[in-house]
C-alpha cells in the first residue's frame, strides 16, 4: 500500500510499504477514508520529539471502513464506517475503567522508552514516535486498529466524513480541555491558539455553558473562524501591546475564569522570553518554547483553572509561583477520546457541532507532503489539510 512516511527532520515522503495485517485477536484493519494533519505532528517533523525512526508511517487522526476483523472482536463488523480516537486503549485496565483512556496501561509495547522520561508509560498512539508505541500511522491506505471494540466508534448514517473526521482527535481534545474548566454560567474562557484543537475547545466551552469565549492567535483567517464559526471574541497578540492588560480589561480586572493552552511546545511569541526560548531550543539546551503557556498562567484569574492541551516534553522557566500563589487548578491530559466520543457524536447528530469547517484543504495521499507543508506554514489560510488515501 501507499503511506506517508517520516524519513528525517522535515523529510516526509509517500512510499510503498507492506499492508497491515491482523496481529492480535482484538485487531481490525481499516481502509482509511479520510485522515488529517495535527499540530502535534509538527513537533516530531521539526525534530523536537525524539524516538522517530526513518520509514515510520505517520498520522493519528482518521476514520475509515472496517475490512478485516480479528477473531476476538465482538461488536465491530466488516463494512462498519468508524471513527477512531488517536490513543490506543484496552478498555480493561484501571485507567480505562476510570475514563482516563490516554493513560492506558496495556497498549504501549515500548513502555521502556517512555518510562525514564515521564516516570510511567502512557498509552500508545498511531504514527507518533516509538516512545508512544511505534504503531504505524493512518496517513495510509490501510491501518491496523488494536482493541477495536473499545476504540472504533460507529458513524451514524447521514453524516459526512468531514463532520466526523475531527472527532478522532481535535474535537475530543478540545472538548476535554473545556470539560476540565468546570464551567459555570457567566464564566469567561480564554483559549490560546485558534487551530483545530483551539477552535474545538472554544466551541465546546460554549456547549458546556460559558458566557464568553476569547480566542488568541496572530493569523487573521484563524481569528475570523473563531468569530464566525464559533462565536468567540478574538485577540490578535501580534497587534496588541499587552495580551495580559487587554484580557484584564475585557474581564473587569478579574481575568478569565479559565485559560486553555491549545498551542504547545513550539509556541510563537513576541517578547524577550520568546527569544530566550527560541535560542535555547535551537541549541538543544531544552526542548520546549512555552510562551503561550506562561501567558495563560499569568492571565488566569485568582482561583481559576488552567487547562493544558498543548503537547510538551520538558520545559524550564515555568512560573509555578504564579500557579501556587494564585491558587490555580491545573488540569491537563492527552485526549481521553473514548470517554467523549459518544456525546460528541450526539452533538454532531443534533447539529450542535459541525467541525467540518476545519477541513480547509484536501489532497489525495500523494499530495500529503505538500499538505503538511501548507499546514505547517499556514499557507493559503490552511487550518487543517485533509487526505483521502483511497
Amino acid at each position: 500500500m501507499r503511506a506517508l512516511c517520516w524519513n528525517g527532520v522535515n523529510d516526509l515522503r509517500v512510499e510503498t510499504v507492506a499492508d497491515p495485517a491482523i496481529v492480535n485477536p482484538r485487531d481490525v484493519i481499516l481502509k482509511v477514508t479520510m485522515s488529517t494533519t495535527c499540530g502535534s505532528d509538527l513537533h516530531f517533523i521539526d525534530g523536537y520529539i525524539p524516538t522517530m525512526r526513518e520509514g515510520d508511517v505517520i498520522g493519528h487522526e482518521f476514520m475509515g471502513e472496517v475490512v478485516d476483523v480479528g477473531r476476538d472482536v465482538k461488536k465491530v463488523k466488516k463494512g462498519d464506517r468508524v471513527v477512531v480516537p488517536s490513543f490506543i486503549c484496552c478498555g480493561s485496565c484501571w485507567y480505562c475503567q476510570h475514563d482516563l483512556y490516554s493513560l492506558c496501561d496495556n497498549t504501549n509495547p515500548k513502555a521502556e522508552l517512555q518510562e525514564p522520561v515521564f516516570g510511567y508509560p502512557t498509552a500508545g498512539i498511531y504514527g507518533y514516535t516509538h516512545a508512544f508505541g511505534g504503531y504505524a500511522g493512518a496517513h495510509a491506505q490501510y491501518v491496523r486498529v488494536p482493541h477495536a471494540d473499545t476504540d472504533c466508534f460507529l458513524v451514524p448514517e447521514g453524516l459526512k466524513d468531514e463532520q466526523v473526521l475531527f472527532l478522532s482527535d481535535a474535537a475530543p481534545t478540545g472538548y476535554m480541555g473545556a470539560d476540565f474548566c468546570n464551567i459555570h454560567p457567566g464564566d469567561t474562557v480564554a483559549v490560546w491558539g485558534c487551530g483545530g484543537v483551539g477552535l474545538m475547545a472554544m466551541k465546546s466551552a460554549f456547549l458546556l455553558g460559558a458566557s464568553r469565549v476569547i480566542g488568541i492567535d496572530r493569523f487573521p483567517e484563524r481569528l475570523e473562524l473563531a468569530r464566525t464559526r464559533v462565536g468567540a471574541e478574538t485577540l490578535n497578540y501580534a497587534e496588541v501591546e499587552s495580551v495580559l492588560d487587554l484580557l484584564k480589561e475585557l474581564t473587569g480586572g478579574r481575568g478569565p475564569d479559565a485559560c486553555i493552552d491549545a498551542v504547545g511546545m513550539e509556541a510563537h511569541g513576541t517578547g524577550v522570553e520568546y527569544a530566550y526560548d527560541r535560542t535555547k531550543q535551537a541549541l538543544h539546551l531544552h526542548s520546549d518554547r512555552g510562551e503561550a503557556l506562561r501567558q495563560a498562567i499569568l492571565a488566569c484569574r485568582k482561583g481559576g483553572t488552567l487547562s493544558i492541551l498543548g503537547v510538551y516534553g520538558v520545559m524550564d522557566k515555568f512560573p509555578i509561583g504564579a500557579i501556587m500563589n494564585k491558587g490555580l487548578t491545573v488540569r491537563t491530559a492527552q485526549q481521553h477520546g473514548q470517554k467523549y466520543l459518544p456525546r460528541l457524536l450526539e452533538h454532531v447528530k443534533k447539529g450542535e457541532l459541525d467541525p467540518s469547517f476545519l477541513a480547509t484543504h484536501r489532497f489525495n495521499l500523494e499530495g500529503a507532503p505538500l499538505g503538511y507543508e501548507m499546514f505547517k506554514k499556514k499557507k493559503d489560510g490552511c487550518v487543517r489539510a485533509v487526505f483521502l488515501p483511497n
Binding site: G8, R13, G55, D72, C90, C93, W94, V117, H284, G313
Partner: protein, 284 residues
C-alpha cells in the same frame, strides 16, 4: 517555606563488602548504582559534589539530546531520550537510588546467596506491578505454562516438561543458546511461588513471584524477583552478555507482558508493522 530536601545520608544496604560495581552498558538503574556508590563513599563535600554532578548531568543531557535528535537513528533516539532523562535528573537534583519504592538491588555475596541455595556472586532484581484482577486468578494464570511462555516470550521459550518442571530456552546474543530446567521449590497457592534451576544448569538461576492485595480498587500487587548467577565476571555484567538484557529489564518487561495478557487477553506488539524500511515491514 520548606527547606530544599537533602539527599539521604543513610547507609545503604547495597554496600556489601566485596560487591563489584557494575560496569556494563548503562541502563537506568546502573546510573543510580554508580552514583549512589560514589556519594556514599565520601561524606565530606558530598553536597558540593552532588551539585557539580547535577550540573554536569544537565549539561551532558542537553548535549546527548541534541546529538540524539540530530542523528535520527535508533541509537540516536536512545541517546536523545537518555539526554532528556539526564536533563530532568540534572535539574531535579537527587539520586533516585535513595528511595525508589519497589526497586531493590543487592549484590549477593554472603547470606542472601546462601539463602537462595545457588552459587555466590549473583544479582537480585525485584520489580512490582499492579494488576486489576484478584490474586488467586493471577496465580492460576501464572501457573499455565502456555501463558508463561508468552509472558517470557521476549526472553525465553518456556515449555512444560513434567509436573512442576519447566524447560527454558534462551537465545542469547551471537547465536548462543542457553537451556535449563526449573522446578517449583515453594508454593503458597494464590500468594507465592518460588522456583530454582535444576542442578548442573549452565546458568544457575532462581526466582519467585508474589501476589498481594493492592489498596482500594487497584487489584493485586505482583512482585517478580529474578536471580541469575552466570559463571564468570560480575553477575549483572555476565547476565547482560548472556541474554542481551539486565535482569531488572527482564523482570519489568515480563511483568508488563503478564499484566497485558491477563487484563486484555493479548500482549501489545508492533511486530509486524508497515514501514518504509526492512522491505516495507518492520519487526520492531
Amino acid at each position: 517555606m520548606a527547606e530544599k530536601p537533602r539527599e539521604s545520608q543513610a547507609p545503604r544496604s547495597r554496600s556489601t563488602p566485596g560487591a563489584v560495581p557494575f560496569t556494563g552498558p548503562s541502563r537506568d538503574w546502573d546510573w543510580h548504582d554508580i552514583e549512589a556508590r560514589k556519594e556514599g563513599e565520601g561524606r565530606a563535600g558530598t553536597e558540593k559534589v552532588g551539585r557539580v554532578r547535577r550540573a554536569a548531568r544537565a549539561f551532558l543531557g542537553g548535549a546527548l539530546l541534541g546529538m540524539g535528535l540530530k542523528s535520527r537513528s535508533v541509537g540516536g533516539m536512545a541517546m536523545a531520550f537518555a539526554g532528556g532523562r539526564l536533563i530532568v535528573r540534572g535539574t531535579r537534583g537527587h539520586s533516585l537510588a535513595a528511595g525508589l519504592p519497589g526497586l531493590r538491588k543487592r549484590a549477593l555475596t554472603g547470606r542472601g546467596a546462601r539463602e537462595e541455595g545457588v552459587v555466590t556472586g549473583g544479582t537480585v532484581m525485584e520489580r512490582s506491578i499492579t494488576i486489576q484482577k484478584p490474586g488467586h486468578e493471577l496465580y492460576r494464570e501464572w501457573r499455565v505454562a502456555e501463558n508463561l511462555s508468552r509472558v517470557m516470550g521476549h526472553f525465553a521459550d518456556v515449555t512444560r516438561t513434567g509436573p512442576d518442571v519447566l524447560h527454558w530456552k534462551v537465545q542469547g546474543p551471537f547465536g548462543r543458546t542457553f537451556e535449563w530446567d526449573s522446578h517449583v521449590v515453594e508454593e503458597q497457592p494464590g500468594e507465592f511461588l518460588r522456583w530454582e534451576s535444576l542442578k548442573g544448569a549452565q546458568v544457575p538461576n532462581s526466582g519467585w513471584v508474589r501476589f498481594r492485595p493492592a489498596p482500594g480498587d487497584w487489584g493485586t500487587v505482583v512482585t517478580l524477583r529474578l536471580f541469575f548467577s552466570p559463571p564468570g565476571g560480575t553477575a549483572a555484567d555476565a547476565a547482560m552478555k548472556l541474554f542481551g538484557e539486565v535482569p531488572t529489564a527482564l523482570a519489568a518487561r515480563a511483568l508488563r507482558r503478564f499484566k497485558s495478557l491477563v487484563e486484555t487477553g493479548e500482549i501489545p506488539t508492533t511486530n509486524p508493522n508497515p514501514a518504509a524500511r526492512d522491505g516495507g515491514q518492520s519487526s520492531s
